[in-house]
Amino acid sequence: MNTQYKTYNFIFFFILTTVILSCETESAYEDVPPTIANIAVSNPAFSTLEEAAITGGVAVTLSNPNPNDSSGDYTVFAPTNDAFARLGLDENTLGVLQKDFLTNTLLYHVSNGNLAGNTISEGDMSISALGVTRRFVNRDNELFINGSKILATDVDAINGTVHVIDKVMIATGGNVVESALALNDAAVFVNPELSFLVEAVVYTGLVDALSNPDANFTVFAPTDQAFIDLGTALGLTFTEPANIRQLSQELVTAVLLNHVFADVSADKFTSELSAGSFETLGEDTITLGMYTNGLLSVSGSGNMSPANMVIPDVQTTNGIVHVIDQVLLPNM
């Protein structure tokens, strides 16, 4: 009988011990480094990036080792929610972007291998997973990638490194004209944009000039609404891009050239721009305001008030485009 009791006791305590020991605890995995995708999902400051990664189809990619690099690692420059909000984007408005463009934009923030924060210095270049090169800028002892300030560096992930940035980086993969056409053709936003500008460039015969592959333009590109507002200011009604042809070619040419820096040897991100007067390809100058919160206002001598940057730092293959909310008028 004693043996029987011992057996029963053994069985009971075996089950009890098994149940207790198999209870799940955080200690089982809390030391496991997160993946880059997990970092985005776990941090509320990256909720827009999380949604973008899911919609853009890179969430699973960034959960895994990088097959295109021997280290298996990625380096990701991660825009915060505030960075997306600068473009009017959040989890609910990402749908204004075409999915392919969103995916390409995300890939522009990714590169192969580990790029540690302390190895980055001014003037360095970095090739993105999109194939387009980014450059690092030092402004007042703060480090930028393109026009985006690096807010934090070296968030470690099991499959790479995350650096936090304050602006979404955009690259089109085409030249200045092709980039404007992409917006016009709704390849970027679901709704067409820069349609009036594209019409103006075609009308004035500046397509070839602005497609020059050897140039490094700095271009200020007015939105459609900016042209519509201009029409209103001139007592005209602009309802469609072709309406721009109500103005003379000479006038439109002068206005367009007032939107391009005369120095076409070095394009400029916002991080490389400061207040002052700048020669244009036209006969007048334009004036940049103070660098404030990563942006600068810009005005032509014919403007009543300065224009604001709506989408700064768009990288094209032959220059940098800053989309603005007013047409920059020269002194006519």
């Binding site: 009971f12 198999s22 909720s47 919609t55």
Partner: protein
């Protein structure tokens, strides 16, 4: 303690299929006895146990509410052999915004018949001991999908209603019932699963009290997956059934006979720890007809 009273209480198990308790309890019924239970359970979560830390929002879906209507039947062919069957209809509803649904091509609801569970249960040894009774029970069961629900819809499958796996489950159960009505049931099991779902160790400890007109128990249940990937972890390819799901869940169950052969059951339970799992708290109620 009237053993016959205890027999009815196995009907409590009707709701446990969906709520991460063992589907099999530690009690047997007399030959020819059985029960039919219709139950309704609800559970909800807005936090998820991810690795290495839990997150306070369900990706895409923000919050997930799950309801299940289950039909449960058990029947005893002999005093020592019985069968158990259960079939739930499950509705899983997310709370993603319209914009998010449109961006990703997702939907907020997945529902349908889930998996049919069929178990045999055999008491191979029983003995009177220490002013009570000790039962040794073995159980073998199969659970397989009968609905046409999907699990391969990428992140949409965060709200999938099941794993679409066929599981072969074996359980060893020991129950000690003291004559006063107190009882303890311990069980250890192993689940073999297909469709890339990791096999898992299962165990549960239940302490309770059963009298003529009242039954209550408290339990702690564990699942430890043998392997698998972490959600958004290395090796994750968007196929959720392949994830390593571990959990520790605690809960309470109660049963009261009401009239004639009918009784009502209810309970609550919650996850206290886990891996790759929504941190849900659930409740259920059921109506049982015993014969």
């Amino acid at each position: 303690m009237k053993v016959r009273t205890l027999m009815m209480f196995s009907a409590l198990m009707a709701s446990t299929f969906c709520l991460a308790q063992s589907p099999i309890d530690g009690f047997m019924k007399k030959k020819g006895k059985g029960s039919i239970t219709l139950s309704q359970s609800i559970e909800s979560y807005d936090e998820v146990f991810l690795v290495p830390e839990k997150v306070d929002r369900v990706p895409v879906f923000d919050q997930v509410d799950i309801s299940a209507t289950s039909l449960y039947i058990d029947y005893s062919f002999t005093d020592n052999f019985m069968i158990v069957a259960n079939l739930p209809f499950i509705r899983s509803e997310g709370n993603a915004t319209e914009a998010s649904l449109e961006n990703n091509g997702f939907e907020n609801v997945r529902e349908g018949l889930q998996d049919l569970a069929l178990y045999t249960k055999y008491r191979f040894y029983t003995t009177e001991i220490a002013k009570g009774k000790l039962d040794f029970i073995g159980s073998l069961g199969i659970e397989f999908p009968v609905g046409n629900y999907k699990v391969d819809e990428g992140l949409q499958s965060i709200i999938a209603i099941g794993n679409r796996s066929t599981d072969i489950n074996s359980l060893g159960i020991v129950t000690y019932k003291h004559n006063s009505g107190f009882f303890a049931t311990g069980q250890i099991g192993y689940s073999i699963r297909n469709n890339d779902v990791p096999d898992a160790f299962l165990n549960e400890l239940k302490l309770g009290y059963a009298a003529e007109k009242f039954y209550v128990d408290a339990f702690i249940a564990n699942q430890i997956s043998r392997d698998g990937v972490d959600i958004l972890g290395e090796g994750f390819n968007g196929f959720f059934p392949a994830t390593q799901v571990n959990y520790t869940r605690i809960g309470l169950n109660a049963y009261v006979p009401i009239i004639y052969r009918f009784g009502i059951s209810g309970g609550a339970n919650t996850y206290i720890a886990g891996r790759n799992l929504g941190i849900s708290t659930g409740f259920y109620g059921g109506l049982t007809y015993s014969f």
